[in-house]
């Protein structure tokens, strides 16, 4: 596919940044909900192009960050059961639970495998019939259908040693919680890839019920800058629209097949979000039909009592209520090498991004 040259890109970026600067007559707070947006913003240095009045705050859009300790504690407990093998996306390995991490459990001898696809985990189950292979089913609407399809594939191929430990999260309920909380957000950058599954519809309440403009955006630096520009422009003109700027992969209705698979395998439940508490209808669990793939139902395990890391303000960070810099642990006791909270672990975590890309600890 065709791409823009470097100089063209720079000129387009400069134009957008210039226009934003012109319109930035009053402070606005824009939230990128998606962690991949957060990373792209930091990596591309987009913040440095924006005027001080335009503040970008990060939302609860990193699946690792929003996963609560009890899920990790359960996964770690399973990893220590003889006969169990944990298969997981690499993202989860370093996340601290109440007292340790999967990485540390692995170092101590647990069999933890990193996979790129849930289908690779299913393959592990087929190759290790005497083991119980437990896949850590994390992720938002983008990832959940892939795992749901894998569960269906497991059923079709008659594999009986493949299990999932679910901690999926849904984006729209979190957004609703956010806008109803006391944190001010003037506009939303909506997650492009989640949207490619769920489409535009589920975001309509933002404009219709809460009068907050929102843009579904891609992940190229220029796409993000354009979305920021669009939001600033709407706010400048007092408008409020849901705009889809990622039409290349986000049809208005999303992916109906994926939605169907999701509805067959999973049902909506209330779910614990790190720092936000339990939000109604914000998570997924296996429907009764697929319960035999549910690790929690099929493999009993004793899990340590959940403890939250005292002093960690991940919850407020995830709501955009504070910036990481306002957490007294940031950059001191809490660094990516020795993270206190989950937001410091994932590359997509807000605190990690702030730290790694220098905001709050570096100025040229």
């Amino acid at each position: 596919m065709q791409q823009l040259g470097t100089e063209e890109t720079q000129r387009a970026a400069a134009f957008l940044a210039g226009e934003i600067r012109k319109m930035a007559t009053r402070p606005v707070r824009l939230m990128e909900v998606c962690g991949t947006h957060t990373v792209a913003i930091f990596r591309a240095g987009i913040r440095q192009l924006l005027p001080p009045a335009v503040e970008l705050v990060s939302g609860p859009g990193c699946p690792v960050c929003v996963t609560a300790n009890d899920f990790l504690d359960t996964a770690i407990a399973y990893s220590r059961l003889p006969g169990c093998m944990i298969a997981t996306f690499g993202d989860m390995l370093r996340v601290p639970g109440s007292s340790t991490s999967l990485m540390a459990a692995k170092s101590a001898g647990a069999d933890v495998r990193i996979v790129y696809s849930p289908l690779d985990a299913l393959m592990l189950a087929k190759e290790n019939r005497s083991r119980q292979v437990i896949f850590l089913a994390v992720g938002f609407e983008t990832t959940a259908p892939a795992i749901a399809a894998t569960v269906q594939a497991a059923e079709q191929s008659g594999v009986d040693n493949f299990f999932v430990l679910t901690a999926h999260k849904l984006v729209p309920p979190a957004l609703r919680f956010l806008v109803e909380s006391r944190c001010r957000v003037d506009g939303f950058l909506l997650p492009g890839h989640v949207s490619s599954i769920i489409g535009e519809g589920p975001y309509r309440f933002l404009t219709q019920e809460y009068d907050i403009p929102a843009v579904i955006a891609g992940f190229e630096p220029l796409a993000i800058l354009r979305a920021v520009y669009t939001l600033v422009l709407q706010l400048h003109h007092g408008e409020c629209r849901l705009e889809n700027q990622y039409t290349a992969v986000v049809p208005p209705a999303g992916n109906p097949v994926a939605q169907q698979v999701l509805a067959q395998v999973y049902e909506t439940v209330s779910s614990r979000w790190r720092g936000l508490g339990v939000l109604p209808a914000s998570g997924l669990t296996l429907t009764s039909r697929y319960r035999r793939f549910d690790a929690r139902q099929q493999i009993p395990v004793a899990v340590e009592p959940m403890r939250e890391n005292s002093g960690c303000r991940c919850g407020e960070v995830l709501l955009g209520a504070i910036t990481p810099r306002q957490c007294s642990l940031f950059g001191g006791p809490c660094t990516p090498e020795s993270p206190v909270g989950a937001c410091m672990v994932s590359v997509e975590g807000t605190c990690a991004a702030w730290y790694k890309y220098g905001t709050g600890r570096w100025n040229l």
Partner: protein, 76 residues
Amino acid sequence: MCLAVPGKIIAKQDLLATVDMNGITRKVSLMLLPQADIGTYVLVHAGFAIQAVDDAEAQKTLELFKELEGYAAAGD
């Protein structure tokens, strides 16, 4: 939130496609995008094709950026 990359389907057998992502190939499931055919671009996430890439829409976005760049160049 969700890393996903576009790639071109270069082979397909039932619901298993071989996708070329800028020279890197991988077997990718079409369970979530069963209608995708050889030659089309799809968005790949966690080993699954999760959407088709709409060429015309992609082109439109590119045109828009070129336009912006044009404004900038003119403004120089």
